[in-house]
């Protein structure tokens, strides 16, 4: 194919690159530049047509005027208003705690999957993926059925005599955690399973042969080798949870919002587009941190399961 791209089929090869490239430039990169620009615009004049609008034809003078009109006012607002700060913190808290819960729940499942006989493993993988294919919204909705005041959970607790009167499950942080853990479990289980499943069984035999009992080999061999999967799973869960909107909106309360909800409210409720854009830019910058850590881990350790 390289010949195909560079030799006779030059035009075809170029086209294969150019089409998706231009598409992504137009619909992925450009929108983010616009977000960045609008986040630096004045709130009052921000609704379309918002200012400053950058006119290429205006040339150098236009550019100077454009830069002069940029304002960091929105960012100042973000950091001074406790609403935004507490939203970021709330998101961070939910993401950290939920990722830890997912890890605690997902690792034993992934480990059990990797221990299962080969044929069963394939079935288990499908079983774990299957709920992911049913719509996200449906899965959250399913929990509303269970968690609402007259829901099954309260009915069950009442029937068992564990509580005297129905508890409020919906509109609590507990509900958010249940929803998040439920929705993201496959994203944690599958990468861990993939790295566990790749471990050469001979390594565990070698450990036993060298005098290492089974439980100790888990700590000394299995766990270190599963670490790439754990990191990938944690990243795959942490980042989207940070920006989660649907779960806290449907299951959580209104007293403390996650940052996704704040963005949504600023945009749809308050119609304050510059602030919403600034919220998005800061969120993105926050998310660069875990990605950078992950990248660092990967480049530091290039062995990638060489056996």
């Amino acid at each position: 194919m390289r010949e195909a791209m560079q030799g006779k089929g030059i035009s075809g090869g170029r086209l294969a690159i150019a089409i998706p490239y231009l598409w992504l430039l137009a619909f992925f990169l450009a929108p983010f530049l616009i977000v960045l620009r609008i986040s630096l615009s004045q709130s009052v004049i921000a609704q379309p047509p918002y200012s400053p609008v950058f006119e290429i034809v205006a040339g150098w003078e236009g550019l100077k005027a454009f830069v002069a009109a940029l304002s960091f006012e929105n960012y100042a607002t973000l950091f001074s208003d406790s609403l935004y700060v507490s939203s970021y913190l709330k998101s961070l808290e939910v993401a950290v705690v939920a990722t830890a819960m997912l890890l605690a729940l997902g690792f034993p499942i992934a480990y059990a999957m990797a221990q299962a006989p080969r044929r069963l493993q394939a079935v288990l993988v499908v079983l774990v993926i299957l709920p992911f294919w049913t719509a996200f919204l449906i899965r959250i909705y399913a929990w509303i059925n269970i968690l609402q005041r007259e829901g099954l959970l309260n009915e069950m607790l009442l029937a068992l005599g564990l509580v005297r009167e129905p508890l409020a499950w919906l509109a609590t942080d507990t509900a958010i955690y249940i929803g998040v853990v439920y929705s993201y479990l496959p994203f944690m289980v599958l990468p861990i399973y993939a790295s566990l499943e790749k471990i050469d069984h001979n390594l565990l035999e070698a450990a036993a042969d060298l005098g290492c009992p089974h439980w100790k080999a888990f700590w000394l061999v299995t766990l270190p080798l599963a670490l790439p999967g754990v990191a990938a799973g944690a990243l795959l869960c942490f980042i989207p949870i940070m920006g989660e909107f649907v779960i806290p909106d449907l299951l959580g309360g209104s007293q403390s919002l996650m940052i996704g909800q704040t963005l949504w409210t600023e945009f749809f409720g308050n119609k304050d587009w510059p602030i919403a854009s600034a919220v998005a830019v800061v969120l993105l910058m926050l998310l660069v941190v875990p990605i950078a850590i992950y990248q660092h881990m990967q480049t530091r350790d290039p062995r990638a399961g060489s056996a």
């Binding site: 050469d200 001979n202 035999e205 070698a206 042969d209």
Partner: protein
Amino acid sequence: MDIGDAGKPDAGRRRDFAPWNDPAARALVRFKGVTKRFSGITAVDDVSLDIHTREFFALLGPSGCGKTTLLRLLAGFETPDAGRILLDGEDLADMPPHRRPVNMMFQSYALFPHLSVAGNVAFGLKQEGLVREEISARVAEMLALVRLDGMGSRKPYQLSGGQRQRVALARALVKRPKVFLLDEPLAALDKKLRQDTQFELMELQEKLDVTFVIVTHDQEEAMTVADRIAVMDHGRLVQVATPPEIYEQPNSRWVAQFVGDVNLIEGRVVASTPGEMLIEAKAGGRLKVASVSGLSAGDAVCIALRPEKLRIEPVKAGSRGGDNSFEGKVWDIGYLGDVSIYKVRLDNGLVMQAAVANMTRMVERPIGWNDRVTLTFAPQAGVVLTR
């Protein structure tokens, strides 16, 4: 593993090393009627076998013959369905792999990818709870022995195949096992490196005085390194003997064919005297071989003839073929450098192979394609097989 002359004075010792012939000797490893089945397939079938202290023992057989399973039974990764395995007189049945004083070198080497070379070699010692100074001293000593000094901090993926092999060797041997198990240890190496490593293994074994049990499908490797070879097929031991015995006195057609090249001539005993036996070949012609007790006229036998024990000559005019002399036409010649293999189609229809050492540098050989030749052999050259 250049041990230099240090090991040489001992070398003579091995000439007389034959504890298996000593009825008073106590075996280090004893398999007693061991059977192992995997979902209906009998991988190891009623195997009884003694392995002695300081022996270099080879399990030889085609893939799937059960040799690796036998090794894994000894290491403790499989449990026998029947029979017992004793090590130093102690039944291993209830001893999990991590408690057994045996160590294994895996075919894939199974080096821990997340640990350095030194970390791999130290792994087993740490399990013993030794103090750090002793561990690092023994690791350094072992790495020097396998010529990996200075490589301790590398990761396995930074090593060549040969180096990885030596790390695996060091990692198991540093534990000073009673028995060292090697599962196809050299399969991943190229031929030249493999041959060098075979001799290194032998020197290492003499130096460390450890009992080695090696699994291999390569008969040359087994013959090179081992004091004794157990030839296995379909989970059973076919023959257990020293390399010369296996080669010169195979006990069955199967062993004769599996170890080295051989010409098999089916026939029937015509007459048997205390000195010689006369065999009538099925395809025609008569063979004279050294007599074997327990056979009488009319018994079906097979005569095994190694190619290098056949003499090949151009047919001389007027000579008349007698016993142990067959005429035929050269059908194919394989020039291997050190020897040439001649395939000869005999007048009775059999195809025989003769190997001739190329002792002189000759561009033109005296025998060519389609030449008429005579194959002859001494009566002692033929081995009478009944199985």
